[in-house]
Amino acid sequence: MAKTTKMAFLVQRLGYKSENPKLALTHAIASQTVDIYLEDGDAVVPVVAFVGEGVLNCKNNQKAMETYGITSTENHLQNALLCDLKILVCKEDLARFGVAEADMPDASAMGADTTVQVVPWETIHAELKGADHLLFF
């Protein structure tokens, strides 16, 4: 009997000199590789959701490399999109912080087939409720 394990990665904060948001994305991407160690037919399906202050991680044109000499969360987000990861951003929280939906990172230039999805909290909540494992960042 094939089993699908749903993992939800919830990003609620900015990095504040930590790797937190990047770790959420890296772990979510890495979770797509574990099926080589699972039983035939078993799968892990990740979703990454940015809520609260965490939505500020999703602003485009980040200058981490120019300012600090490190890769940006935006860059990690683009790589996640390139890997077809489901990325959800809370619509209400974006509005609360005055960030336009048009300011979301995009990876189409890298060849990504998917984009960041700005959705109501209700949609994110449904994803979290349906998850087998919930990880907070």
Binding site: A30, I36, D84
Partner: protein
């Protein structure tokens, strides 16, 4: 290297570390037709020697790995 020169497409993941080579290889294979061959250029040792061949074995895909230089591999995968 029976599949060398038979590739229908090439995926360049040079410079990318785990887990990207495997994830991007899986994605590229999804777009490939049955019987087609993809060449993956990779310089991540664990991906080239372990995870990508293991994934192919599990999926029933034919996989040939050729070391082409110091720390670089060409991986030929035929989709079943």
């Amino acid at each position: 290297m029976a599949m060398k020169g038979q590739e229908n497409s090439t995926l360049d993941v040079l410079g990318r570390v785990c887990p990207y080579p495997l994830v991007l290889t899986k994605k590229a294979l999804e777009k490939l037709g049955s019987g087609q061959v993809i060449k993956v250029k990779c310089d991540a040792p664990a991906s080239a020697e372990e995870s990508i061949p293991k994934f192919c074995e599990k999926q029933g895909y034919t996989c040939e790995v050729e070391k082409v230089g110091d720390g670089a591999w060409d991986i030929y995968i035929k989709k079943a």
